[in-house]
């Protein structure tokens, strides 16, 4: 038995000692816990941890196989995301106990706070007292046992799993219903209670999903794309796209869903030009070897940075939206090009991990596929707040794509229209977020960069929070970013353009004098080395390619990703369709595209007179539309639109 005194040790040191004890097979006793946060997070060995007192947030979180006993009370997020193992709390638990657990057993002898078991996937959460409101909120599986009263809106929007309430069921949540209990279920609960020494003799009411919201009633008729120019520029107000939208909506009675990026033109990097005459650009044959492009991202606070051979990454895209083969191709290409790949929502498969030498692991509100083991084998951790394509809204994965395999990784029932939560259970504001970031760092020993993925909106405010909450970098995603499925209206009308996002981010950081305290990876409609160089010149530290990498790997931009029967085998989980995709061949294509990007970045950097991409700056650019000039504050110089005729203008 190792005794750790938190009056003498800080939590970071204590957690290192607990992990070492776990690895060595020794049990631990924590004295003077002082309700500190993150006690025992990240444990992956069988170990008994006895906390003599009260624990703060996320006690026992992100662990597997450990058994905890906490004598008094715990703060919120008890047992966050635990796999196997157990926690017994002698007193009360704060909000969201058992959040996102995937198999653990959690017993709270007192009362528990609101949203108990939110987005849990498996395991048992038991409370001997009363639960507060919305117990079982959005749970996907597992069992909640409440010996006291249920609290309001119990089972709100639960998808799977069961809630047993011995006391009063005060109010059922949306899409929840009461159902009969089977004798063997009660026997199992009693066996569980006996095991934890909870004496109880009464009966239970059982609450399950009512199944009213899991699938859309009518399916949307799929239409192939109308050319964008028919509904932009000077096209008519009631253009063919408006009419088609009205027609479809008149059939289905709800908003349309589609995949891909924005359908409407927006002010973009394309509206900027380089000041210098670049007609010589690319004349130097081996320009790639002459320009310093190596970039480290994520190391500013001491974590091991991502090491990028050029300031480029792959944007987060999930296995789910994309087929396993496509993720493999993208991963292989990222390795060949010496850049980083990102899991997106929905977990990390072995195939993804094997394909990509540097892989960022993304955590979303549904905690789909999130777990300590994959965190440990990631090269970076990312908290998704929103994405450019559909900020403020959760992910949508249509039933056709929710295969048993995918459901297993994500820990959800197969065959539902999966609408991921748009908010994190344990991030309701900037103050929670800073503690969440700390939990991730604690659980992985401060080795990994922690980033935030953010769709552009109130960028000025958001980035100040991101920097104050200690993120190593931000993946800032303009509204031109794409998605596998989202509301067509949200894709087109929620969020702000990539061009303004970077400007607003930099302005805000400058205003608080913190530019050096966070790195910015810009994404959302960045398509080639030319866009990349403009983004870098505006002030981004790196850029990320999503859609363009997918196109390089065979996507034909038909915008039917959401249908799930992608003709090229990219945005599909149908084995017959996936078989159409040759990951090895497409990895080579994507790699060649990335090498083309590298060459373009090098050629432009050289032609602009620099030996390193870090030389690029705002003075290299002008704006050629009034909008771009107003958005960026760059000189409005429409004469640069015409290259050939620009020679005289440029010297004037």
């Amino acid at each position: 038995m190792v005794t750790l005194d938190l009056a003498k040790l800080d939590v970071r040191a204590a957690n290192e000692r607990i992990r070492a004890a776990g690895a060595a097979g020794e049990d631990v006793e924590v004295v003077n816990p002082d309700a500190r946060h993150h006690i025992g997070v990240g444990l992956i060995h069988p170990i008994n941890v006895h906390v003599r007192g009260s624990a703060g947030y996320f006690c026992a979180g992100l662990s597997d196989q450990a058994s905890f006993e906490v004598e008094n009370n715990v703060g919120w997020g008890l047992g966050d995301n635990m796999y196997s193992g157990s926690v017994v709390v002698g007193g009360n638990a704060g909000a969201i106990p058992g959040v996102a657990i995937r198999g653990a057993e959690i017993v709270v002898r007192g009362n528990m706070g609101s949203r108990a078991g939110q987005v849990m996937k498996a395991g048992t959460l038991c409370c001997a007292g009363n639960a507060n409101f919305m117990a079982g909120y959005m749970m996907y599986g597992g069992r909640i046992v409440i010996l006291g009263d249920s609290g309001e809106r119990v089972g709100e929007d639960m998808t799977g799993g069961e809630i047993f309430v011995a006391g009063k069921v005060s109010e059922l949540g949306s899409d929840a219903q009461l159902t009969d209990t089977a004798a063997e279920e009660i026997d199992e609960i009693r066996e569980f209670l006996d095991r934890y020494g909870v004496s109880f003799k009464g009966g239970f009411q059982k609450i399950v999903n009512a199944g009213k919201k899991l699938r859309y009633a009518t399916s949307e008729r799929q239409m192939r794309s109308i050319p964008f120019f028919t509904f932009s520029g000077n096209s008519s107000y009631w253009n063919p796209k408006v009419q088609e939208d009205l027609y479809i909506k008149s059939q289905i009675g709800r908003y349309r869903i589609r995949g891909y990026g924005g359908a409407r033109p927006l002010p973009h990097l394309s509206d900027l030009a380089f000041k210098k005459d670049l007609s010589d650009a690319g004349r130097v044959v081996d320009v790639v070897s002459k320009i310093d492009m190596y970039t480290e991202i994520g190391g500013i606070n001491g974590a091991n940075p991502l090491q990028l051979s050029m300031p480029v990454m792959i944007a987060p895209m999930s296995y789910g939206a994309l087929s396993a083969s496509t993720k493999r191709a993208v991963g292989l290409a990222s390795s060949l090009a010496g850049i980083a790949e990102n899991t997106g929502e929905g977990g990390m498969s072995n195939a993804q991990r094997d394909a990509a030498t540097q892989l960022i692991f993304q955590m979303l509100g549904g905690r789909l596929g999130w777990n300590i083991h994959d965190m440990n084998r990631a090269d970076g951790l990312e908290i998704y707040i929103s994405q450019g394509a559909k900020p403020g809204l959760g992910g949508q994965l249509m039933a056709k794509k929710v295969t048993p395999e995918l459901a297993r990784i994500r820990g959800i029932p197969a065959g539902i229209d999966l609408r991921s939560p748009s908010r994190h259970p344990d991030i309701l504001g900037a103050d929670d977020l800073v503690i969440k970031v700390e939990e991730l760092r604690e659980a992985t020993g401060y080795r990994l960069p922690v980033s935030v993925k953010l769709g552009a909106g109130r960028v000025r405010d958001d980035i100040k929070i991101a920097v104050k909450d200690g993120f190593d970098f931000i993946e800032l995603d303009g509204m031109q970013g794409s998605t596998g499925a989202g509301s067509a209206e949200v894709i087109d009308y929620v969020g702000t353009p990539t061009l303004s996002a970077i400007i607003e981010a930099l302005d805000a950081l400058e205003s608080i004098g913190r530019r050096q305290d966070i790195q910015i990876v810009l994404m959302g409609g960045i398509r080639d080395g030319v866009d990349a160089v403009k983004a870098l010149a505006l002030g981004a530290d790196a850029v990320a390619f999503g859609t363009s990498a997918i196109i390089a790997g065979g996507c034909i931009a038909c915008m039917q990703c959401h249908v799930g029967q992608c003709v090229t085998g990219i945005a599909t989980q149908d084995p017959e369709h996936e078989a159409r995709y040759d990951p090895e061949a497409e990895a080579k294509n994507i790699h060649r595209f990335l090498e083309g990007v590298r060459w373009q970045i090098a050629a432009l950097t050289e032609a602009l007179g620099y030996s390193s991409v870090r030389g690029l700056n705002r003075d290299d650019l002008v704006a050629v539309t009034p909008e771009a000039a107003s958005i960026t504050g760059l000189e409005y110089a429409p004469q640069y639109r015409v290259r050939g005729a620009g020679l005289e203008v440029r010297t004037a």
Partner: protein, 841 residues
Amino acid sequence: MSVYDINRILVPDAPPEYEDHAGQPNYVPAPCQVACPIGTDAPSYIGYIWEGNFDAAFEAITATNPFSSICGRVCDAPCEPACRRTDSDGPLQIRNLKRFVMDKLGATWEPTPVPVTQQQTVAIVGAGPAGLTAAQELADAGYEVHVHEMTDRAGGMMIWGIPAFRLPPGIIQEDVRRLERRCPGLHIHLNSALGRDVTLEELKQKHDAVLLTIGSWWGKPMGIPGEEDEHVVDGVGFLRRVNDGERPELPASVVVVGGGDVAMDACRAALRLPGCENVKVIYRRGPEEIPARKIELEGAVKEGIEFIYHTQQVAVESNGNGLVLSCVNTEPGEPDEDGRRRPVEVAGSEHTIECGMVIAAVGQQGECAELEQRDMMAADRVRTDWDSMRTDDPKVFAAGDGAFGGSTIVMAMHHGQRAAYYVKAFLQGNQNPLPYRTPYRTRRVPVAQDIMWEKFPPQHPQFFGVGENPTEFPEIESTYDWETARVEASRCYRCDAETGSPDYSVQHREDIFSMARTNPLDHAKLRGMLHKRLRIRENPFPEQRPANLDDLVFLPANLSRLVIDPYREACNVAFRLAGKLSLSHPFMVTGFDRAPHAVRASVAAGTSDADAYYLGYERPSDTAKWLQLIPAGATRPPDPVAAGAVFMYDGNTVFAPGRAMRTQVTGFGVSSMDLLPRAIDASLAQDLDFLLIDGSGGVAGDWPELTHTPSLEMLRETVSILRGLNREEAFDLIYFGGVRSGTDAAKLIGMGANALVLGAAIGFAVGGVMTGQGLQFGSDYTEEDRASATVNVIKASVGEASMMARCMGKTNLHNVEPEDLRAVTLATAKASGIPLVGRQA
């Protein structure tokens, strides 16, 4: 242009007289079109087939191809391996689709004749695909053309080289007839051989230019001992006899030497002839290298022909009853100059094959004694410069197999077009024409809308093989029926069509494709791509673009506005107008007062079902919730059954509109910016409940939204005036004009509106079609359809509006504020008063 070469990145200029769209924005020729030597606009005709517009498909097919019926059956179809769907579940069956159209229309089509308009005339020697294609091009340009053909029929190798089971003679006649009808200035002189019936000197004297398309008519010898034996024949000679109608008795066993298309036709023809029991093909390389088109090879295999690969003939001799062909095995050696691995003989592998006949199909050659005499031949071809298609004689041009060696029909046609281009330049005295390139034209056909397009597998016609009476050479396969053709057509990716995404437009997509297929060491291509990508796009917001709701975006809740998940539809949308009239959502309906009765009734039913108010002069049904619209100048009080009334304000109105009942709500409606301040004053003075802002300019008229861009200024100005007076809460604002969706509604609510009126949006939803007179309603909708469409559009709008609010972290739609919005264009920022994104002024 090869599919991904630099010409696709930096498109060379096309001759101005050519119809060509390759350099235009929103268009990049599809891989199939680029792979076609004559630039056939396959995507367009495939699109037309799906639409059932066969005439237009026919036009697209035949525009550059005088031998479309022939090509529909026997083109080697380089488009198909280029098809992007090849990598998925198999290429579009482009040739079969062409055949489908030609079988439908080819025999009866009457082309419009192109008159002769030029003084100069051109002579062409040889009526094969190169010569006749050139003839059509020249005739189209107005020249009189005289074609001299040594045989008794036009068609060249198409008629003499391809057996009837693949290409029935009637098909060739069909194309030739159409060509002759189209070109009255085209004169084909049959049985007129160069050197025998006419001399080059005569042609040069009579005409202003001469084009030699003499073909590659004679089989090459194998160059092995014993091939003079009478049982050894050359492939093209053999096919010529058969195609002339002969059906000679063959020995039981036949060996064909070679792996090209002639070998395929020869072996399959032999198999059908009397006496022949088995046919073997020997080829010196492997099955991967065999040049025969895949479909011919498969056909031959299906018919029972045996292929012996890696086998080289070395000698042939007679053994009394038949032949003994001595062979050796080969293995792949070092690559030769064309990149293929040279077959190397394997020592000790000598063996023999016995047979009754050997058909040598190892290549063809051109021959012409007269040209030989004039020293115009280089070995077996007319000496010709590819860049000008000229021979050594400045007035004489050459093209086709006879100039550049054996190739395909479609390549010969390309030669004909290319030669005609340079002949025309010569005739017009243009010394330095732009280098020829195939023109790429698009007809911008809408994309097929079959939801199964991603799933349908390739549709194959029925294969008949040799048939019941092989010697009659019945056709080997069927043509599509309409249903099958349509399925196949729907499979097309339509690589030519513009995408629905401006950021990943067809140009961008193709550039990314090209980058993904560029060797990192291919400096020229990398540089070409960089310079193309440096080009600046057109301003997507041209000066003339008015302020538009589309150019407002919402600011989502992120880190700064986190709240507990407003999951799914949990957002309050109800509203009490003026604190009196309970609206379960902010949408009303208007505009159907003068619509046909049935339409008005069904929209009224749907409006009621959706629990929405109808705004109009008359109550559309006995149960409708109705806000009465009262024209300017009228002074009568509202109908007691109305929930309220909107008095249209004309500036002269000084009355206080009365209320029939205390529960009724009352307000003015104002349709112009000029009247707005006074209408606001009047509303305030009379303490009215609401103001209807008519951004359409004429809510009282018929479908005003269709002809006016909605005014955002009026809403902004109203809010601004009320704010200036510190009376923002004095009355509610109802907005009408161009509301198309819940998104538009949420934006307008953000700008200050409390309720929105849908007009044209409902009109379109219930099947309205825009005409010069507003919306017209057809008979393809039932009343139930229209009622449910009305309900659905209102429901969808409510859903969309609440979704927008939820994205912003709101739990009540009416909490959307101007601060939740940004403009992305200056015009919209100005009109709406919403700031532009980006750097703040």
